[in-house]
Amino acid sequence: MATLLGFFCIGGFAAAAIRLELFTPAADVMTPDAYNRMFTLHGTVMVWFFLVPSIPNTLGNFLLPLMIGARDLAFPRLNLFSWYLFVSAGLLLLLSLLLGGVDTGWTFYTPFSTMFSNGYVMLAALAVIVAGFSSIATGLNFIATVHMLRAPGMHWFRLPLLVWAIYGTSLVMVLATPVLSASLLLIVAERAFGLPVFDPAQGGDPLLFQHLFWFYSHPAVYIMILPAFGVISEIVTCFARRRVFGYRFMVYAILWIALVGFLVWGHHMFVSGQSLFASMAFSFLSFVIAVPSAIKVFNWTFTLYRGQITFEAPMFYALGFIGLFTIGGLTGLFLAAIPIDVHVTDTYFVVAHFHFIMVGGAVTALYGGLHFWWPKLTGRMYPESWARLAGLTMFFGFVFTFFPMFVMGFAGMPRRYQVYPPEFQAWNVMSSSGAVLLAAAYLLPIGYLTWSLFFGRRAGDDPWDATGLEWRTASPPPRENFFELPVVDEEPYLYHPEATGPHHSAREPHRNQGRNAR
């Protein structure tokens, strides 16, 4: 957890440096090379060392066993090993950073990365490979846990949606990450041992690298966003006091995303020289995957409908997530359409799109989840009004930072450029100022959450009147999670009696999941 926070700060620092540089059209803070190294650092650290492990490794590690009524993950020692791997990968990356950094961008595209780049590409690639092993180990552990350690009576369709989401994420982790390792191994081989694989002068095919890379890196987007879906489902249902609308469809949507997420990678390669036929196939499949995402957004909305909504801080984050994710997802459809994508490829439009998904989506959900389960994690309540303030600031700061990027991207501002034409300055100034607000919103919770560790009000076992199994034990949970293992004989989210929605201000009686816990 603290490790992740450290990486988040490093990546955030790089982002701040980029935004500072882009304040004016000219290059005035860093050299062009330093700028390249800065955005590579930002991308690499944020993707592999923050976003991919963020929700699974913090909330997932803690909540998965609790939510299915288990004492621990299936292989506790493997879990620890995975943490060691992660830390050593981080140290490798820091080493490459201290030695001078990498300038390839987070995508390591060949032949630049293999033949021309003068950064420490090998170290960085090795770091990502090791981090990949760590994420495979985590995914394996989660899958085995969900299959083997569910409490008696915890059927597949009684699992909370966060568990389903993490299960889908783990599938993606286990099946996609090795292909990334393979492609990076090829780069390392080419740089270290002079074994040409992608070298066009020898007849190699640089596009092949992109295929292998995106076979991992597109599903990686779902590694980041699926757990966020799970977190949001838990929060929305709890603070709307409503059953999740269409629980089964939510589950199928998760699995559908995990599966089809593997079939859309080519939409990153529309302008790469890939065949037109393949582009059309990938474009079609990319439209297909929008369907389950839309199902999820509509189902959250229907869950809210006629709910008794209260605006605790986690709910702020959750509602912000739904809005931002919808924008991010819809602009994703623009990008899936070949003609528009050709126009906006490598512009700030793309940058804005994936930041809406990853930052507006995944990071917001992480903060929401952190607030929601903070009482369970620590046994202390966070200060509510501060948290609401931070939530609001985050939403506005985020939109302020990234929305201008859509506009300037569509007008043609290319990404990864340090020097830009002066007509884009107004938008860039807006974006950089928003980034200050956003940074404040991210730092604020770190302050008051730390404060609440020592001075926060003590939380009861179940401060939100939620139904999940994790609320049926002490806060923080004892060493083996439950004093007595629960037995489950009902579905999750029974926030109100069947077939009747809440119709007046008094809370409906809700039924908790699991008996004889505690």
Partner: protein, 126 residues
């Protein structure tokens, strides 16, 4: 399932039975390996690789089913094995979708660079 509290369920089988079945599988594997070696020298054009990979797949199935005990395994382990094959199929199918339908290169290959460029006007252009 037997042995609710035991280790792996004990299987009382004689050494002869174990050796007999494993050796039969091994003989089949060796025969297949030698067959693929022999078939490699029969000129079949593109068929050579197909035959060789077909034999390899057969060997993989034998090893998985008998040596790796997938034949006795319950659905879960078979599912894991099948999922991995399915995902490999995704990877290969979609990459080759691109590779086999690419437009012919519009740039000369490096090995052709030494040759004089084809004339772009006049008879040679057609």
């Amino acid at each position: 399932m037997s042995g609710r509290r035991g280790l792996l369920p004990a299987e009382a089988r004689g050494a002869g039975a174990i050796l007999g079945r494993a050796l039969a599988v091994w003989l089949a594997l060796v025969a297949l390996a030698l067959a693929s070696l022999a078939m490699a020298y029969v000129p079949l054009g593109r068929g050579n690789m197909a035959v060789a990979l077909g034999i390899s797949s057969l060997k993989m199935l034998l090893i998985a089913a008998f040596f790796m005990r997938l034949r006795q395994a319950e659905g879960l382990r078979r599912l894991a094995a099948a999922a991995c094959l399915l995902w490999l199929a995704f990877l290969f199918a979609l990459t080759f979708t691109d590779l086999l339908t690419r437009a012919p290169a519009s740039q000369p290959a490096p090995s052709d660079l030494a040759r004089p460029p084809a004339p772009t006007t006049g008879e040679g252009a057609f």
